[in-house]
Protein backbone atom coordinates (compact mmCIF):
# COMPACT_ATOMS: atom_id res chain seq x y z
CA UNK A 1 0.00 0.00 0.00
CA UNK A 2 1.51 3.31 -1.09
CA UNK A 3 -0.04 5.07 1.88
CA UNK A 4 2.06 3.01 4.28
CA UNK A 5 5.25 3.84 2.38
CA UNK A 6 4.39 7.54 2.52
CA UNK A 7 3.89 7.31 6.26
CA UNK A 8 7.34 5.77 6.65
CA UNK A 9 8.88 8.61 4.65
CA UNK A 10 6.99 11.25 6.66
CA UNK A 11 8.01 9.52 9.90
CA UNK A 12 11.67 9.80 8.89
CA UNK A 13 11.06 13.46 8.03
CA UNK A 14 9.44 14.06 11.43
CA UNK A 15 12.37 12.42 13.23
CA UNK A 16 14.83 14.56 11.27
CA UNK A 17 12.90 17.72 11.94
CA UNK A 18 12.66 16.84 15.63
CA UNK A 19 16.45 16.39 15.80
CA UNK A 20 16.87 19.75 14.09
CA UNK A 21 14.44 21.35 16.55
CA UNK A 22 16.35 19.90 19.52
CA UNK A 23 19.63 21.15 18.12
CA UNK A 24 18.21 24.63 17.51
CA UNK A 25 16.57 24.83 20.92
CA UNK A 26 19.67 23.83 22.86
CA UNK A 27 22.55 25.08 20.72
CA UNK A 28 21.33 27.91 18.49
CA UNK A 29 18.67 29.82 20.45
CA UNK A 30 20.24 32.01 23.17
CA UNK A 31 19.46 31.30 26.80
CA UNK A 32 16.69 33.41 28.28
CA UNK A 33 18.06 36.24 30.40
CA UNK A 34 15.53 35.82 33.25
CA UNK A 35 14.67 32.15 33.34
CA UNK A 36 17.87 30.54 32.09
CA UNK A 37 17.82 26.93 30.98
CA UNK A 38 14.29 26.25 32.28
CA UNK A 39 12.86 28.54 29.61
CA UNK A 40 13.88 25.92 27.00
CA UNK A 41 10.74 23.92 27.83
CA UNK A 42 8.78 26.75 26.25
CA UNK A 43 9.90 25.47 22.83
CA UNK A 44 8.09 22.21 23.53
CA UNK A 45 5.24 23.21 25.83
CA UNK A 46 3.67 25.83 23.57
CA UNK A 47 4.03 23.91 20.28
CA UNK A 48 2.60 20.79 21.97
CA UNK A 49 -0.39 22.85 23.12
CA UNK A 50 -0.88 24.32 19.64
CA UNK A 51 -0.60 20.84 18.12
CA UNK A 52 -3.26 19.59 20.53
CA UNK A 53 -5.58 22.39 19.36
CA UNK A 54 -4.87 21.40 15.77
CA UNK A 55 -5.81 17.78 16.57
CA UNK A 56 -9.04 18.77 18.32
CA UNK A 57 -9.85 21.05 15.39
CA UNK A 58 -9.21 18.24 12.92
CA UNK A 59 -11.40 15.90 14.97
CA UNK A 60 -14.26 18.39 14.90
CA UNK A 61 -13.77 19.05 11.19
CA UNK A 62 -13.92 15.32 10.43
CA UNK A 63 -17.00 15.10 12.65
CA UNK A 64 -18.62 17.89 10.67
CA UNK A 65 -17.75 16.08 7.44
CA UNK A 66 -19.33 12.92 8.84
CA UNK A 67 -22.59 14.70 9.65
CA UNK A 68 -22.47 16.50 6.32
CA UNK A 69 -21.69 13.61 3.97
CA UNK A 70 -22.56 10.57 6.08
CA UNK A 71 -19.35 8.87 4.90
CA UNK A 72 -18.39 6.30 7.52
CA UNK A 73 -14.62 6.73 7.24
CA UNK A 74 -14.78 10.16 8.88
CA UNK A 75 -15.86 8.55 12.15
CA UNK A 76 -12.59 6.73 12.60
CA UNK A 77 -10.62 9.77 11.42
CA UNK A 78 -12.39 12.06 13.88
CA UNK A 79 -11.85 9.61 16.72
CA UNK A 80 -8.16 9.16 15.89
CA UNK A 81 -7.56 12.92 15.69
CA UNK A 82 -9.19 13.44 19.08
CA UNK A 83 -7.18 10.56 20.50
CA UNK A 84 -3.97 12.26 19.36
CA UNK A 85 -5.25 15.58 20.67
CA UNK A 86 -5.84 14.05 24.08
CA UNK A 87 -2.32 12.62 24.13
CA UNK A 88 -0.85 16.00 23.25
CA UNK A 89 -3.20 17.66 25.75
CA UNK A 90 -1.89 15.39 28.51
CA UNK A 91 1.66 16.28 27.43
CA UNK A 92 0.74 19.97 27.62
CA UNK A 93 -0.40 19.49 31.21
CA UNK A 94 2.77 17.60 32.02
CA UNK A 95 5.20 20.08 30.45
CA UNK A 96 3.22 23.02 31.84
CA UNK A 97 3.39 21.55 35.29
CA UNK A 98 7.16 21.05 35.01
CA UNK A 99 7.59 24.60 33.78
CA UNK A 100 5.44 25.96 36.60
CA UNK A 101 7.65 24.13 39.10
CA UNK A 102 10.83 25.43 37.50
CA UNK A 103 9.80 29.08 37.24
CA UNK A 104 7.28 29.59 40.07
CA UNK A 105 8.18 26.76 42.45
CA UNK A 106 4.73 25.11 42.36
CA UNK A 107 3.52 22.11 40.39
CA UNK A 108 0.17 23.66 39.64
CA UNK A 109 -0.81 27.31 39.18
CA UNK A 110 -4.48 28.26 38.73
CA UNK A 111 -3.28 31.61 37.48
CA UNK A 112 -1.91 30.03 34.32
CA UNK A 113 -4.86 30.27 31.91
CA UNK A 114 -3.37 27.86 29.45
CA UNK A 115 -2.96 25.10 32.05
CA UNK A 116 -6.47 25.52 33.43
CA UNK A 117 -7.93 25.50 29.92
CA UNK A 118 -6.13 22.27 29.12
CA UNK A 119 -7.37 20.70 32.33
CA UNK A 120 -10.97 21.53 31.31
CA UNK A 121 -10.37 20.23 27.80
CA UNK A 122 -8.69 17.11 29.12
CA UNK A 123 -11.76 16.35 31.26
CA UNK A 124 -14.06 17.10 28.34
CA UNK A 125 -12.23 14.82 25.92
CA UNK A 126 -11.78 12.03 28.44
CA UNK A 127 -15.58 12.02 28.69
CA UNK A 128 -15.60 11.70 24.88
CA UNK A 129 -13.92 8.31 25.20
CA UNK A 130 -16.26 7.25 28.00
CA UNK A 131 -19.21 8.16 25.81
CA UNK A 132 -17.83 6.48 22.74
CA UNK A 133 -17.07 3.22 24.48
CA UNK A 134 -20.49 3.02 26.09
CA UNK A 135 -22.52 3.41 22.89
CA UNK A 136 -23.04 0.43 20.58
CA UNK A 137 -20.85 0.74 17.46
CA UNK A 138 -22.76 1.97 14.44
CA UNK A 139 -24.19 5.08 12.84
CA UNK A 140 -25.61 6.32 16.12
CA UNK A 141 -22.24 6.20 17.84
CA UNK A 142 -20.52 7.90 14.93
CA UNK A 143 -23.04 10.74 14.97
CA UNK A 144 -23.08 11.21 18.73
CA UNK A 145 -19.27 11.29 18.78
CA UNK A 146 -19.20 13.79 15.92
CA UNK A 147 -21.66 16.13 17.67
CA UNK A 148 -19.63 15.91 20.87
CA UNK A 149 -16.43 16.71 18.94
CA UNK A 150 -18.14 19.78 17.48
CA UNK A 151 -19.13 20.90 20.98
CA UNK A 152 -15.44 20.65 21.85
CA UNK A 153 -14.33 23.32 19.40
CA UNK A 154 -17.10 25.61 20.61
CA UNK A 155 -16.03 24.97 24.19
CA UNK A 156 -12.37 25.92 23.58
CA UNK A 157 -12.88 29.67 22.97
CA UNK A 158 -15.79 29.91 25.43
CA UNK A 159 -13.75 28.24 28.18
CA UNK A 160 -10.76 30.40 27.37
CA UNK A 161 -12.93 33.49 27.79
CA UNK A 162 -14.46 32.07 30.99
CA UNK A 163 -11.07 31.38 32.53
CA UNK A 164 -9.88 34.87 31.66
CA UNK A 165 -13.02 36.30 33.26
CA UNK A 166 -12.67 34.06 36.32
CA UNK A 167 -9.22 35.49 36.99
CA UNK A 168 -10.88 38.81 37.79
CA UNK A 169 -12.61 37.49 40.86
CA UNK A 170 -10.34 34.62 41.81
CA UNK A 171 -7.05 36.51 41.70
CA UNK A 172 -5.33 38.98 39.44
CA UNK A 173 -2.90 37.61 36.88
CA UNK A 174 0.49 37.62 38.52
CA UNK A 175 2.55 35.52 36.19
CA UNK A 176 3.01 36.25 32.54
CA UNK A 177 4.96 33.92 30.37
CA UNK A 178 5.70 36.02 27.37
CA UNK A 179 7.31 39.00 28.99
CA UNK A 180 10.16 39.62 26.60
CA UNK A 181 10.01 39.56 22.85
CA UNK A 182 11.69 36.57 21.25
CA UNK A 183 14.79 37.21 19.21
CA UNK A 184 15.23 35.92 15.66
CA UNK A 185 16.86 32.58 16.47
CA UNK A 186 14.47 31.96 19.36
CA UNK A 187 11.54 32.47 17.04
CA UNK A 188 13.14 30.20 14.43
CA UNK A 189 13.66 27.45 17.02
CA UNK A 190 10.04 27.82 18.10
CA UNK A 191 8.72 27.49 14.54
CA UNK A 192 10.92 24.49 13.73
CA UNK A 193 9.86 22.81 16.95
CA UNK A 194 6.20 23.41 16.18
CA UNK A 195 6.59 22.06 12.64
CA UNK A 196 8.32 18.95 14.00
CA UNK A 197 5.54 18.32 16.53
CA UNK A 198 2.80 18.87 13.97
CA UNK A 199 4.49 16.39 11.65
CA UNK A 200 4.92 13.95 14.53
CA UNK A 201 1.22 14.27 15.37
CA UNK A 202 0.35 13.66 11.72
CA UNK A 203 2.51 10.52 11.59
CA UNK A 204 1.01 9.20 14.82
CA UNK A 205 -2.45 9.94 13.43
CA UNK A 206 -1.78 8.05 10.20
CA UNK A 207 -0.17 5.10 11.97
CA UNK A 208 -3.08 4.78 14.39
CA UNK A 209 -5.55 5.09 11.53
CA UNK A 210 -3.80 2.37 9.53
CA UNK A 211 -3.81 0.14 12.59
CA UNK A 212 -7.53 0.78 13.14
CA UNK A 213 -8.28 0.00 9.49
CA UNK A 214 -6.35 -3.27 9.67
CA UNK A 215 -8.22 -4.08 12.85
CA UNK A 216 -11.58 -3.43 11.21
CA UNK A 217 -10.67 -5.46 8.12
CA UNK A 218 -9.53 -8.34 10.29
CA UNK A 219 -12.79 -8.27 12.21
CA UNK A 220 -14.79 -8.29 8.97
CA UNK A 221 -12.74 -11.21 7.73
CA UNK A 222 -13.32 -13.12 10.94
CA UNK A 223 -17.05 -12.44 10.74
CA UNK A 224 -17.13 -13.77 7.18
CA UNK A 225 -15.18 -16.89 8.17
CA UNK A 226 -17.32 -17.68 11.21
CA UNK A 227 -20.49 -17.10 9.21
CA UNK A 228 -19.53 -19.82 6.74
Amino acid sequence: MSLNRNVAAIAVGAAGLMALALAMVFFVAPEDADQGISQKIFYFHVPIALTAYACFGTGAWKGLRLLWTGAERYDLESYTAIHQGTIFGALTLLTGSIWAKASWGVWWAWSSNQLVLFLVLFLFYCAYFMLRFSVEPGTRRARVSAVYALFGVALIPISFLAIRLANDFIHPTVFTRHGAQMTGTMLAAFWVSWAALLLLAFVMYRVELIGKHIDANLRDLRDILTAR
Binding site: A127, M130, L131, V144
Partner: protein, 213 residues
Protein backbone atom coordinates in the same frame (compact mmCIF):
# COMPACT_ATOMS: atom_id res chain seq x y z
CA UNK B 1 -43.22 28.33 11.97
CA UNK B 2 -46.38 28.29 13.99
CA UNK B 3 -46.62 24.56 13.33
CA UNK B 4 -43.11 24.26 14.77
CA UNK B 5 -44.14 26.26 17.85
CA UNK B 6 -47.22 24.06 18.23
CA UNK B 7 -45.06 20.93 18.09
CA UNK B 8 -42.70 22.33 20.70
CA UNK B 9 -45.57 23.36 22.96
CA UNK B 10 -47.22 19.94 22.64
CA UNK B 11 -44.00 18.15 23.54
CA UNK B 12 -43.26 20.40 26.49
CA UNK B 13 -46.85 20.09 27.69
CA UNK B 14 -46.56 16.32 27.53
CA UNK B 15 -43.56 16.38 29.87
CA UNK B 16 -45.24 18.75 32.30
CA UNK B 17 -48.40 16.65 32.35
CA UNK B 18 -46.41 13.49 32.95
CA UNK B 19 -44.69 15.20 35.84
CA UNK B 20 -47.98 16.43 37.29
CA UNK B 21 -49.34 12.89 37.26
CA UNK B 22 -46.27 10.92 38.34
CA UNK B 23 -44.51 13.58 40.46
CA UNK B 24 -41.15 11.90 40.01
CA UNK B 25 -38.62 14.60 39.30
CA UNK B 26 -39.66 17.91 40.80
CA UNK B 27 -40.09 16.85 44.44
CA UNK B 28 -36.71 15.13 44.22
CA UNK B 29 -35.07 18.28 42.86
CA UNK B 30 -36.67 20.43 45.56
CA UNK B 31 -35.61 18.18 48.41
CA UNK B 32 -32.15 17.79 46.92
CA UNK B 33 -31.46 21.51 46.59
CA UNK B 34 -32.69 22.20 50.15
CA UNK B 35 -30.64 19.34 51.57
CA UNK B 36 -27.60 20.62 49.66
CA UNK B 37 -28.00 24.10 51.14
CA UNK B 38 -28.11 22.60 54.63
CA UNK B 39 -25.01 20.54 53.87
CA UNK B 40 -23.26 23.72 52.71
CA UNK B 41 -24.01 25.42 55.99
CA UNK B 42 -21.99 22.76 57.77
CA UNK B 43 -19.31 22.65 55.06
CA UNK B 44 -18.58 26.38 55.27
CA UNK B 45 -16.41 27.62 58.15
CA UNK B 46 -18.20 30.26 60.28
CA UNK B 47 -15.96 33.08 59.03
CA UNK B 48 -16.18 32.10 55.35
CA UNK B 49 -18.15 35.18 54.34
CA UNK B 50 -20.92 35.63 51.81
CA UNK B 51 -18.75 35.20 48.71
CA UNK B 52 -18.07 31.56 49.53
CA UNK B 53 -21.81 30.93 49.98
CA UNK B 54 -22.54 32.59 46.62
CA UNK B 55 -20.02 30.28 45.01
CA UNK B 56 -21.65 27.20 46.52
CA UNK B 57 -25.12 28.34 45.41
CA UNK B 58 -24.08 27.76 41.81
CA UNK B 59 -22.75 24.32 42.64
CA UNK B 60 -26.11 23.51 44.22
CA UNK B 61 -28.03 24.76 41.17
CA UNK B 62 -25.91 22.82 38.66
CA UNK B 63 -26.18 19.59 40.63
CA UNK B 64 -29.92 20.02 41.07
CA UNK B 65 -30.21 20.52 37.33
CA UNK B 66 -28.17 17.36 36.79
CA UNK B 67 -30.68 15.46 38.89
CA UNK B 68 -33.48 16.65 36.61
CA UNK B 69 -31.49 16.07 33.42
CA UNK B 70 -30.74 12.50 34.44
CA UNK B 71 -34.48 11.82 34.38
CA UNK B 72 -35.19 13.94 31.31
CA UNK B 73 -35.27 11.21 28.66
CA UNK B 74 -36.56 8.37 30.84
CA UNK B 75 -40.18 8.66 29.59
CA UNK B 76 -38.98 8.61 25.98
CA UNK B 77 -36.77 5.60 26.57
CA UNK B 78 -39.49 3.52 28.18
CA UNK B 79 -41.46 1.77 25.47
CA UNK B 80 -39.12 3.23 22.84
CA UNK B 81 -41.29 6.34 22.63
CA UNK B 82 -38.35 8.29 21.24
CA UNK B 83 -38.41 6.20 18.07
CA UNK B 84 -42.03 7.19 17.62
CA UNK B 85 -41.21 10.86 18.13
CA UNK B 86 -38.34 10.68 15.65
CA UNK B 87 -40.66 9.11 13.08
CA UNK B 88 -43.37 11.72 13.68
CA UNK B 89 -43.72 14.31 10.92
CA UNK B 90 -42.18 17.15 12.90
CA UNK B 91 -38.79 18.81 12.89
CA UNK B 92 -36.50 16.78 15.17
CA UNK B 93 -35.12 19.91 16.80
CA UNK B 94 -38.63 20.49 18.16
CA UNK B 95 -38.14 17.41 20.35
CA UNK B 96 -35.01 18.99 21.81
CA UNK B 97 -36.64 22.39 22.31
CA UNK B 98 -39.69 20.84 23.97
CA UNK B 99 -37.44 18.90 26.34
CA UNK B 100 -35.32 21.97 27.07
CA UNK B 101 -38.43 24.01 27.92
CA UNK B 102 -39.84 21.30 30.18
CA UNK B 103 -36.50 20.94 31.98
CA UNK B 104 -36.36 24.72 32.30
CA UNK B 105 -39.79 24.71 33.91
CA UNK B 106 -38.67 22.11 36.49
CA UNK B 107 -35.47 23.97 37.23
CA UNK B 108 -37.23 27.32 37.65
CA UNK B 109 -39.80 25.68 39.91
CA UNK B 110 -36.99 24.29 42.08
CA UNK B 111 -35.30 27.69 42.17
CA UNK B 112 -38.49 29.46 43.24
CA UNK B 113 -38.01 27.57 46.48
CA UNK B 114 -34.21 27.37 46.51
CA UNK B 115 -33.36 31.05 46.00
CA UNK B 116 -35.53 32.42 48.85
CA UNK B 117 -34.19 29.60 51.02
CA UNK B 118 -30.66 30.64 50.10
CA UNK B 119 -31.44 34.26 50.94
CA UNK B 120 -32.88 33.13 54.27
CA UNK B 121 -30.02 30.76 55.19
CA UNK B 122 -27.03 32.65 53.82
CA UNK B 123 -27.22 36.03 52.07
CA UNK B 124 -29.65 37.95 49.83
CA UNK B 125 -29.17 37.87 46.07
CA UNK B 126 -28.84 41.06 44.08
CA UNK B 127 -30.56 41.84 40.79
CA UNK B 128 -27.67 40.91 38.50
CA UNK B 129 -27.40 37.55 40.25
CA UNK B 130 -31.07 36.85 39.51
CA UNK B 131 -30.53 37.73 35.85
CA UNK B 132 -27.49 35.46 36.00
CA UNK B 133 -29.70 32.63 37.32
CA UNK B 134 -32.06 33.06 34.36
CA UNK B 135 -29.24 33.01 31.81
CA UNK B 136 -27.50 30.07 33.48
CA UNK B 137 -30.81 28.16 33.53
CA UNK B 138 -31.19 28.65 29.79
CA UNK B 139 -27.64 27.45 29.22
CA UNK B 140 -28.07 24.42 31.48
CA UNK B 141 -31.32 23.35 29.84
CA UNK B 142 -30.27 23.82 26.22
CA UNK B 143 -26.90 22.08 26.54
CA UNK B 144 -28.14 19.65 29.18
CA UNK B 145 -31.09 18.40 27.10
CA UNK B 146 -28.76 17.56 24.23
CA UNK B 147 -26.05 16.00 26.38
CA UNK B 148 -28.56 13.93 28.33
CA UNK B 149 -29.98 12.65 25.03
CA UNK B 150 -26.42 11.54 24.22
CA UNK B 151 -26.10 9.89 27.61
CA UNK B 152 -29.47 8.19 27.12
CA UNK B 153 -28.17 6.50 23.97
CA UNK B 154 -25.25 4.98 25.88
CA UNK B 155 -25.16 1.94 28.13
CA UNK B 156 -23.98 3.82 31.20
CA UNK B 157 -26.64 6.58 31.06
CA UNK B 158 -26.89 8.29 34.47
CA UNK B 159 -23.26 7.51 35.18
CA UNK B 160 -21.90 9.33 32.16
CA UNK B 161 -24.17 12.39 32.20
CA UNK B 162 -22.21 14.39 34.81
CA UNK B 163 -18.94 13.55 33.04
CA UNK B 164 -20.28 14.95 29.79
CA UNK B 165 -22.06 17.89 31.34
CA UNK B 166 -19.71 19.31 33.99
CA UNK B 167 -16.86 20.40 31.67
CA UNK B 168 -19.49 22.17 29.56
CA UNK B 169 -20.98 23.77 32.68
CA UNK B 170 -17.71 25.31 33.91
CA UNK B 171 -18.19 28.52 31.86
CA UNK B 172 -21.73 28.77 33.27
CA UNK B 173 -20.38 28.54 36.81
CA UNK B 174 -17.85 31.27 36.04
CA UNK B 175 -20.56 33.51 34.62
CA UNK B 176 -22.94 32.79 37.47
CA UNK B 177 -20.41 33.40 40.24
CA UNK B 178 -19.19 36.53 38.48
CA UNK B 179 -22.72 37.89 38.17
CA UNK B 180 -23.32 37.41 41.90
CA UNK B 181 -20.05 38.65 43.42
CA UNK B 182 -18.15 40.77 40.88
CA UNK B 183 -18.54 44.56 41.08
CA UNK B 184 -18.79 44.49 37.28
CA UNK B 185 -21.60 41.93 37.00
CA UNK B 186 -22.86 43.11 33.61
CA UNK B 187 -19.75 41.75 31.91
CA UNK B 188 -20.60 38.27 33.18
CA UNK B 189 -24.22 38.53 32.08
CA UNK B 190 -22.97 39.39 28.61
CA UNK B 191 -20.70 36.37 28.67
CA UNK B 192 -23.58 34.11 29.77
CA UNK B 193 -25.73 35.48 26.94
CA UNK B 194 -22.91 34.65 24.51
CA UNK B 195 -22.67 31.12 25.91
CA UNK B 196 -26.44 30.64 25.63
CA UNK B 197 -26.43 31.91 22.05
CA UNK B 198 -23.54 29.78 20.84
CA UNK B 199 -24.63 26.54 22.50
CA UNK B 200 -28.35 26.97 21.76
CA UNK B 201 -27.64 27.28 18.06
CA UNK B 202 -25.21 24.36 18.17
CA UNK B 203 -27.62 22.13 20.12
CA UNK B 204 -30.57 23.11 17.96
CA UNK B 205 -28.65 22.30 14.78
CA UNK B 206 -27.08 19.05 15.97
CA UNK B 207 -29.87 17.38 17.97
CA UNK B 208 -31.24 15.60 14.91
CA UNK B 209 -28.00 13.65 14.57
CA UNK B 210 -28.07 12.49 18.17
CA UNK B 211 -31.46 10.77 17.90
CA UNK B 212 -31.45 9.47 14.34
CA UNK B 213 -29.69 6.40 13.01
Amino acid sequence: MSAYAADVAALARKDLRLELRAKDTLPAMLLFVLATLVVFHFALPPDAGDDAAYGLLWVALVFTALLGLGRAWVPEREGAALDGLVLAPCDRSAIWLGKALATLAFLVAAEVVALPAFALFFAPLRGTALLGVVLVDIGICTVGSLVSAMAASSRTRELILPLLFLPLAIPLIVGGVGSSISPDGGKYLLFLALYDGVFSILSWASFEYVVTE
